[in-house]
């Protein structure tokens, strides 16, 4: 059954929620300002409930099944975290009140900052950035502020071809021209390449580590030394932190600034596209550039510190996606140090297990121990005229969310699989067996793949039409 669009439903005069009766005289604004109000449909509560209940049934989430979307860390989102974020006193807290009234919410911020510092090995943190990309922007602004404080304005930034897609766009906002750095035959940053590119016009480098091939950048320290020697800074994209918690100390790697994606590593749900949270951690020398206000602790009292002339300013209207912060805070407290490390170990175990079991059937461009994800390509399927997209769409018919496809760009026809640690062996085995079955279908009856999906709410959707004749508003 199809569900109509909201405005195809309803009847003028229905109500979907209570509105209190007026206990004061009704007033109206002067005629010159008055408007007619929007043309919204009027629905009853059951109309709204059924509409969204049905829409939800056309969606697939982590709770529905395996969601091995590479680079997205689609781990299980614990239900208690939702409850904690909905704690009435927290959910009702207003962000503009004096510190003394809101010690509880400030405490969570202070403690979460500390936990993130301890997890990364960095020295200071801000919780303001709303998502990874805003974290990157914050980081780039800190780069800029740092260089300005040294009396220089640099205009380039090194970005490896294995970095996340948001990196160049974030850097560009700061007026940095991205200089691509080709990875070597092992899929790694090459020390010599970096040495050749790094100069005193260059603000530094943005490294995703583990990189988007799922590999740990083994030369990171040497790279950092080169960058630092030229007065540059090293940015660490922490989107793949789920591989290395309790294992790697980012400050030892030479990272100066990094962001974390709480909605990936710290298991806050992604909400079909957000909200995320992208806190930024920095080494000591960069702490003074962090956004304001910054939460501090004096004795037993928490306070917002607004006085920091070197700060880059604000990147959020208040304190970031606070509700998301509470969920990550709950997750870290539930896990503790040993389980966070174990999570990384199991995430890496799961990815390597998939890599080993599938590498006979799918082409593995970089055959080395991987971290939390492994990247295959459709090279072996070329002769069958079957592409990555066909395999992905066929997975839908078997009840799986497809992996990330055609990313990273360095692998042609990439299939990027990140199982995360919350998937058990039998579910992973079943997924592997399904891929093998699909690859068999590709040989025997590729039409099944071309036609896929047939079990979803919709068959393949015409994305070209959508872009050519945009219909963005109903």
């Amino acid at each position: 059954m199809n569900e109509p669009l909201l405005w195809e439903k309803g009847k003028k005069g229905r109500k979907g929620m209570s509105i209190p009766a007026a206990d004061v005289p009704l007033a109206t604004p002067e005629a010159a300002l008055a408007g007619a109000g929007p043309d919204f449909p009027d629905l009853s509560e059951i109309d709204v409930i059924r509409h969204y209940t049905r829409l939800s049934q056309w969606n697939f989430g982590v709770d529905t099944g395996l969601y091995p979307l590479g680079s997205c860390t689609m781990k299980y989102n614990p239900k208690t975290n939702e409850k904690q974020a909905a704690t009435p006193a927290i959910a009702a807290a207003h962000p503009m009140l004096d510190d003394e009234y809101v010690q509880g919410t400030l405490r969570i911020m202070y403690e979460l900052q500390q936990y993130l510092i301890n997890i990364t090995g960095m020295a200071a943190a801000t919780l303001q950035p709303s998502a990874g990309a805003q974290g990157e922007l914050t980081g780039m602004l800190i780069f800029d502020a740092y260089h300005k404080s040294k009396g220089s304005k640099r205009n380039k930034i090194l970005i490896p071809d294995t970095a996340h897609g948001t990196n160049p766009a974030s850097a560009a906002l700061c007026g940095y021209k991205p200089v691509p750095v080709a990875s070597n035959a092992e899929g790694m940053l090459d020390v010599e390449t970096v040495k050749a590119l790094m100069d005193e016009e260059t603000a530094g480098i943005m490294v995703t580590n583990p990189n988007t091939l799922g590999l740990f950048e083994e030369n990171i320290r040497a790279v950092a030394e080169i960058v630092h020697a030229k007065g540059g800074l090293v940015y660490g994209d922490g989107a793949n932190m789920n591989a290395i918690m309790g294992i790697v100390d980012l400050s030892k790697c030479g990272v100066d600034v990094m962001h974390l994606n709480l909605h990936k590593t710290f298991s806050t749900p992604h909400g079909g596209g957000g909200p995320g949270a992208g806190p930024v951690c920095v080494v000591e020398k960069l702490a003074r550039f962090l956004p304001i206000p910054h939460v501090k602790k004096d004795g037993d009292t928490y306070r917002l510190d607004w006085d920091n002339p070197d700060s880059i300013g604000r990147v959020h209207g208040y304190h970031g996606n606070y509700g998301v912060l509470v969920k990550a805070y709950s997750y870290i407290l539930s896990m503790g140090a040993a389980n966070l490390k174990k999570a990384s170990q199991l995430a890496v175990l799961n990815a390597n297990y998939i890599k080993e079991r599938l590498k006979g059937a799918l082409h593995l461009p970089y055959d080395r121990p991987c971290m939390h994800e492994c990247v295959f390509s459709d090279e072996k399927q070329h002769e069958l005229k079957v592409a990555t997209l066909d395999i992905a769409k066929r997975l839908i018919d078997y009840g799986y969310h497809p992996p990330t496809v055609y990313f990273p760009l360095v692998v042609h026809g990439a299939i990027m699989i990140e199982p995360t640690e919350t998937e058990c062996k039998e579910d992973i085995d079943q997924f592997i067996d399904t891929i093998l079955l699909i690859l068999q279908e590709a040989k025997e009856n590729p039409q099944l793949l071309y036609d896929a999906p047939v079990m979803a709410k919709r068959k393949r959707l015409d994305e070209t039409l959508a872009a050519r004749k945009p219909c963005l508003c109903g």
Binding site: S18, P41, L43, Q57, P88, I90, S334, L346, K425, L461
Partner: protein, 444 residues
Amino acid sequence: MRYLPHTEEEIAEMLATVGSDSLEGLFDTIPADCRMTGEIELPPAMTEWQLDDHMAGISAQMKVTTCHKVMVGAGIYHHFVPESIRTLASRSEFLTAYTPYQPEMAQGTLQGIFEYQTLTARLLGMDVANASIYDGGAALAEALLMGLRINKKRKKIGVSKGIHPHHRQVVRTYLQATEFEIVELPIGADGRTDLGELADHGELAAVAIQSPNFLGVIEDLTQAGVAIHETGAIFITSFTEPLAYGLVKNPGECGADIVCGEGQSLGLSRSFGGPGLGMFACKDAFTRNMPGRLVGETVDRDGRRGFVLTLSTREQHIRREKATSNICSNQGICAMMAGMYMASLGGTGLRELAQLNFSKAEYMKAELKKAGAEIVFDSPTFNEFLVRFPKDFETTRKKLFDEGIVAGLKVGKYYPQLKDCYLFCTTETVTKADIDKVVQEVSR
């Protein structure tokens, strides 16, 4: 640990397949000098019940309780949110999904966001709305950057001082590493943006005005739009209280080119200021200059209506450094909730609720005047307004706090010239009795 399903036996089997002798061995490629020494310093792991207790302890540290009537808005508003919306938004198919990259199995999110875009466009009187920006501050920064892209020969932008001070700070932050210059436009004695000297600032690429503004005043957007367009600038309007457009002219009617703002007011909890919802809309002509995700209608192979993310050639993952913005994750479920809220209110309800908010403030203004307080601006306001008290208000305010009312926000931090003024907010959650209590204390 209940989130980690692996048994020792399974770990052993998997390690054997992988060819590693231990979990530690999986990390052999990581150089020793990159390693963390010792364990991460964290409190001991808590059971679910210890966590409950811990959070109860934190709640107890909040002096402001859920029983307080908080007569403070300033960008974050307390409106009633029906349980139906919380129930729907918590459905895991919505909540635990990623950005809808595989549209065939994400039609729920996609249709829901398409509906959000449509209702937003209707509310704001614009042609196109995007799938959201982080919050009101980031939305304003993105709008101004968009104005600079459209008017790309101009390097200056104008920003009204009536815009939420935090949002102006975000703009400054976003633009600080660029060559662009920000001009702040003053507020006049009527509480509205003074555009008298607009021409003096040279060629502005875009000018942004918030209405209702931070001080609650409804700007004369129509007139402002004419003045701004005369200078060749893009006319941007922003907001923090979209509920106002249930009652007053929407920005589109007033000629806005780009409209942006904070949508927390539409069904989200205050939650210490986040997650909010950056709403963003523009005229058709500017669509391809927009930042952020867009959901569009299309058909599947059987010709059935369906929805996909579209026009992604504007975006960072395709266009990289030439993208219209670096935004990737946005405020997905918040946009869905705002859609649910707008659908629950309906056109009729939205109007009724807007009028109720307006009326509460009008009542309080009138009563405070009678009690001898000064309503700083004569101009019309929505549900917020600025008050100056005849004598020191701090003692009264503390007393009211103890009686369960947070009576206004001091604005001197943001507007030194108004350091003796308080910004009050009265939504539908504030009763006549609450208002009378404040007035009574003021009368003493």
